[in-house]
Each structure stands twice: as structure tokens, then as C-alpha cells.
Amino acid sequence: MAVQLHDESFDPARLLAEFETSLPVGSFGATASFVGTMRNHNEGDSVTAMTLEHYPGMTEKQLEEVIQDARQQWNIIDALIVHRVGDILPGQPIVLTAVCSAHRAAAFDACRFLMEALKSRATFWKKETLANGESRWVEKNTPG
């Protein structure tokens, strides 16, 4: 089980490969992953940058609880959550979730659960910088 917060841009493919190779060879038959990437637009406005604030200590604890909840609901081998904090630019990855399991159903379902749970529970807050120079806090997540 792993939770990682990065204050600089990360490479999802490299972290996913490291996650898989950290597990015993042959122990899983399915890997599902999701990458969330920063858009250059939101709610009809051009967005040039974003800052992601979090609550150090609480955020990591919540993400570990999300993984524990997934373990209780699905038979998974291991799970990974990686999330950016700090200043982000369009095109950069914000979040990576990944699940390894024996079969695909648990991997798919648990990976979706990790994303939805962290979006609704984990203490992150986004502040966007718009093309006109103004900034605003994002008040709600997109439905899906």
C-alpha cells in the first residue's frame, strides 16, 4: 500500500511501473490505473495555472484510509495513490490511482473507488489562475 504526495510534476508511467515491480512476480493478473491531468479550461474560462493546497498529516491519513476501505471491499493485492500538491500547469498529471489484483473486476472497481473516494473525502483544495490574471478557488468537483 502506498500513498505519495509530490510537490513537483511526476511521471505516472514510471510510478506505475515501480508500483508493479514492487510486487512479487506473478502475484497479480490485473492492473487498473487512472491518471487525472490538469485541463486548460474550467467552467467556460481559460485556466493557465493551479495551486493545490492540502492539510499535511490529515490528507495522507485520509488517503491511507481510502486504500484500507478498498481492501475491505475487494480482494486486491495492492493499491497506489499519487497526488500533486503545490503549483501545477495545464497538461501536468494531478493524480494517479492504481490497483493490482488477481482478476480484472476487482482492479477496475477498486481503482474507480479510490478516485471517487479521494475526490469526496481527501483534504485538497484547488485554486485556479485564469487567463485574465484573476484567481479563484474551485468550489466543487465535476460529477464524473
Partner: protein
């Protein structure tokens, strides 16, 4: 008793004079910590709160040495 108070995201900007610590005697609820630490008497309904890194309701009590945090709805992912 001493209570550590933290504000995050838009609430930190809206409460520039918010106290980082309050002293109190007797039992206080989370909502009463808000009232003492900010210039806004009533805690807005959409404000979320935690005590010692665990989500709590406004009516729940706090204890000496607790860290109480106030923040808006989360928007990660």
C-alpha cells in the same frame, strides 16, 4: 485550556485575522472555537471541520491541546 486553530484554502484568506490559538476555560464545541477564533460569529453551514485530523461535527467538544481545523468542501483529484 489551549486549542490550536487552523484555516485552509478560501477560509484562510477570508479570515486574515483568524487566531492560530485560543485559550478557554471549561468545555468548548468546535463551533464555539470558530466563534472565538474568527470575526464571524456564526460558523457558515458549508464550513467543514476536524479535530486532530479527524472530521468532526460543529457541536462536538474539543479538549485541551486539540488541533481544530476549518476548511471548505474539498476539490482534489
Amino acid at each position: 485550556m489551549a486549542i490550536k486553530v487552523r484555516f485552509f484554502a478560501s477560509l484562510r484568506e477570508q479570515q486574515p485575522d483568524g487566531l492560530s490559538q485560543i485559550e478557554a476555560e471549561g468545555v468548548l464545541t468546535v463551533a464555539q472555537v470558530w466563534e472565538r477564533a474568527t470575526s464571524t460569529p456564526l460558523m457558515p453551514e458549508n464550513v467543514l471541520c476536524s479535530v486532530n485530523l479527524e472530521h468532526r461535527e460543529p457541536g462536538e467538544p474539543v479538549s485541551d491541546g486539540d488541533e481544530v481545523a476549518f476548511f471548505p468542501p474539498v476539490t482534489g483529484g
